[in-house]
Symmetry: C2
Subunit: 277 residues, 2 copies
């Protein structure tokens, strides 16, 4: 079973185990390095490790496998592991050891997007035409939109997207509304936050790669577009923006939270106007 | 190169290509069946397919690889594919063919949770003690919480979690506030929606597997707990619940949207009280 280029015969490895750290839920996490490893040696180490962790009563066993070690994925699956999630550089494999029901946390289920309502003092809104996508070539002027990155705050993502797409600096005001939709991308769901931002600069410089054109457009002209009038979601958003502009509609604004449970910085979004803070 | 148990010699396969369907973004999607396939035959088919798709100017090539075909992951990676995302039953591999920058959509980045504020006519709130987790054994009474599944509406998830954990039937009222936090689970971010629900039944039956105890507790007793007083997030939520109870605080309530862009049913959440619908 041992391969000729193995650094050590697999027999000698049988009493060694994989390096692992304990997690907070009675499990262990193995972070494999990028060092190439022979599949037979890996299986031998893995079996000894699983036996050891079972004796210790460990629950979930996680193996973070860099893409360079993709040769070890098939052997791990044969030992009872499955894919929990994956990113471009690694696969996260997991194996639930107890006979009790699996209580491992679910994988990320949602993508998050933002759309930005930005109005100047002349009641003009910031709108763009995109180079790609479903609306390409339709002549539609729409609010700038973008994807919230992993680890990025919604309020920061909205400011960043406006800057990238139009060159406009802005300050986040609040979330006016949001939509949850499903199967937007394979089986994943989608949360789409419509945000209001205050412009801090006014000179538009459209992003070359993604934006065909950008302009300040009278709000009435924006809402009069057939696309806005014919789509229930777009009509609602236009109504909300109008209510915000004229009638003191109150959305959710961000309050920074000091760290709870040793988590990094987080924001609580709520109706501050009604809370009287 | 051909293996003895191949249905056909790989040479004969070279002029065949993998079955694929076009996506909306100039790419193709290959859904591999669970049928075992020899790795050499796969590589031969894949190379012929890639050459064909390049000639057609295709952009992203997606291969949905069932876990049963994990032997084909390493060969695909060697041909230039990487892991876009994975679930327990499959890996999604992708390869961007053009020389232009990769515009493939990002993987799901957020997990979504709910917490439920449920109050009866005696100003008592529905609270639970959990069997597992960080708060186990602390004696803390907390709102029922849970994870929103892929494809599940936030409003449905809140009703389901209350029913599962406490046996109480309820009707969704609105989202009072939400928190976005980061690195809650490996590199993924988290959105946690605090929801208000109206109870429709009052006889508590705690879930055996996860819930140690459940009860209706006077709201003042809930907020007086040190855990609530000492954590900024918990204090804010208690204040919001109080403002909702006494002062007409307005959160975001769901409006069902008829399908836009042939997406499945979705909900728009907004401040309906301020919108005067």
């Amino acid at each position: 079973m041992s391969s000729s280029d193995s650094p050590l015969p697999s027999e000698k490895q049988a009493d060694r185990i994989l390096e692992a750290i304990n997690d907070d839920y009675g499990g262990v996490v193995v972070e494999m390095t990028n060092e190439p490893m022979d599949a037979h040696i890996f299986v031998s180490l893995l079996r000894a490790s699983l036996s050891h962790w079972r004796q210790l009563g460990k629950k979930g066993v996680w193996i973070k496998m860099p893409i360079e070690l993709v040769n070890l994925v098939e052997p791990a699956v044969k030992e009872g592991f499955y894919c929990h999630h994956a990113e471009s550089r690694y696969l996260m494999l997991v194996h639930w050891l107890p006979s009790t029901p699996n209580t491992l946390p679910a994988n990320a289920s949602h993508r998050v997007g933002v759309s930005a309502f930005v109005m100047n003092e002349k009641n003009e809104v910031l709108v763009v035409q995109e180079k790609d996508g479903k609306l390409q070539g339709t002549g539609l002027w729409k609010f700038p939109t973008g994807v919230v990155d992993e680890g990025e705050d919604i309020c920061d993502a909205a400011v960043r997207e406006i800057k990238e797409e139009t060159g406009i600096d802005s300050e986040f005001v609040e979330i006016l509304a949001f939509r949850q939709s499903h199967k937007s991308f394979f089986e994943k769901s989608d949360l789409f936050f419509v945000c209001m931002l205050q412009p801090l600069s006014f000179d538009i410089r459209p992003q070359e790669a993604e934006i065909e054109a950008a302009q300040w457009m009278p709000f009435e002209e924006y809402t009069a577009q057939p696309f806005v009038q014919e789509h229930e979601f777009q009509r609602y958003i236009a109504d909300v923006c109008l209510a915000k502009k004229d009638e003191g509609y109150s959305g959710f604004s961000p309050v920074p939270m000091v760290s709870d449970f040793s988590l990094p910085k987080s924001y609580l979004y709520l109706n501050q106007q009604d809370l009287d803070i």
